[in-house]
Symmetry: C2
Subunit: 343 residues, 2 copies
Amino acid sequence: MSGNYSIGVDLGGTNLRVAVMRQEGTLTETIALRTRLQEGRDTVVADMCEAVAALHLRQNGSGKCVGIGVGTPGPLELPAGILRRPPNLPGWDGFDVRRAIENRLNQPILLESDANVAALAELHFGAGKHFGVDSLCMLTLGTGVGNGIVLRGHVWQGANGMAGEAGHTTVVPDGLPCGCGSRGCLELYASATGLRRMALESIAAAAQPESALARLAHANVEFQARDVARLAEAGDAQAQAIFTEMGRCLGLTLAALINTLNLPLYVLGGGSAAAWSLFAPALYKEMHERAYVYRATEPTEAEKVARTPGKTHVAQAELGADSGILGAAYLPWVEVPAQGSSL
Amino acid sequence: MSGNYSIGVDLGGTNLRVAVMRQEGTLTETIALRTRLQEGRDTVVADMCEAVAALHLRQNGSGKCVGIGVGTPGPLELPAGILRRPPNLPGWDGFDVRRAIENRLNQPILLESDANVAALAELHFGAGKHFGVDSLCMLTLGTGVGNGIVLRGHVWQGANGMAGEAGHTTVVPDGLPCGCGSRGCLELYASATGLRRMALESIAAAAQPESALARLAHANVEFQARDVARLAEAGDAQAQAIFTEMGRCLGLTLAALINTLNLPLYVLGGGSAAAWSLFAPALYKEMHERAYVYRATEPTEAEKVARTPGKTHVAQAELGADSGILGAAYLPWVEVPAQGSSL
């Protein structure tokens, strides 16, 4: 990367981060702001562009800017750069975010969904580096289930920029309605929201109304997935069963991805991936039973955590919340501006 | 392609075809043989290589051979080129087919599974050309359900050459056992074998044992999927219900593929794809209900059959049984020999 640099923007519904990347994925300067959603989208774009300009100025005389990468919540239509009902950016439906940013900066940007930039960062600086692979599929288990796919080092955007919605794979054909319009999506069984709902359903259905899980839920108005995880870690069978179901549903989705794409690595990130030890046994069992491509490439216990060419790995993300800004800042090093760029 | 040529080999469990391709996918000379499986694999490889050599000789003085492409039944481990329990080549498990062919020809070959070369041919000369796309996913509805994926003009082999097993996507989580070791795979509901089984199950479960479908099955010891299709086309509700179930299962699998990969085209080939009019309504309904990426890119009725950029198309294959030899012969024009090549 010589003395050149890139600028990355990680736009979230709560936080806005802008950073300078030099050599090998190192962020040298960062501006972290609140996303002022209530002030309107023009204010948010202005905040972002001012931070970009400020960081540009501060690099004066030290290398050339190779580009600006921006990660935003999706769904994002690409190459156009238009947001389509983004659940985390209320009021931004139909907003041509690419044009708004490029007009204000007066230069083209590289734009991707946050799930895609996170996957790119994990490939180059996180789990993908650990396992020595050039392709991966990442599922981000947060409020929903995000997904990004990187093939041979490049984000796979799909024909309309809408690839990476594996969180809406059907795992229970007659399951509950999902916000996406379908039923029984993975997101309902592997997100923090889904885990909380499964816990409440388990309490309502239980023969013993006074279980430890029920007491925990009733005592805490802010009862969340992480409370269920804590109880499961302490050995509570009712709480553990919820993570077993989560692992089974994740395994079913990963089995289909493995049989279809035969990637060397599948990465699980987001807050609920921290419950790895609770759901991993059911996940591995389901993949083994469902995917013969997995059985043909299954690592031993020792190989599961180490670089092992020829094996299919499933691993936790390694970059945490930094994946968004790292991936956005890394975009200009691996991609060229899209033809849809409005400049 | 100037005056140069390639040679393609389509090795099947029954037929062996070897052909010369010049310019724009035109086959100029073809040798069609029976696959002498009962004589052993060395005989089959010898037959194949003799035909290749004969066609080489006949091109003498007219252009340069750009390469030899070979399509074989899978599963095929790549880049090594080793067959893994290929159901259509009994006795060939573990056979290093790449090495056997290359040693005899004394030159490197390009090797792919038959489903992959068929998908490549459909992209460049069939449905992909019709719809003007550079990527597609093809499902071949034959005795089983084969699958090949082509991304930006190139076959997606996956890390071990085992990509393209979407036929073993779970569509009925608690469904019947499948030969692959899983349960409820698409193949059990969308292959000719699966359609026949569903018809027999429907007869066994029917309140009226003397239905038209039952009479047809009992009168014909070779009762097959195409007999069910003929009855459904004549308006028989019991036979039609079987194709509705086939369409629903195909739609469920395509919905997951569309949400995950957002490809512009999904192609259905193989004998059972001819029942298109019987299963397509259920297929489109299921994709619409299951995949919000499909709803966001859904073509109108008129757009479903015409080149329409930005839309997600599902279409019948256009090349029929020629896709295997066309794709194999086209491989050398788009790919370079793999590092796994034994020479």
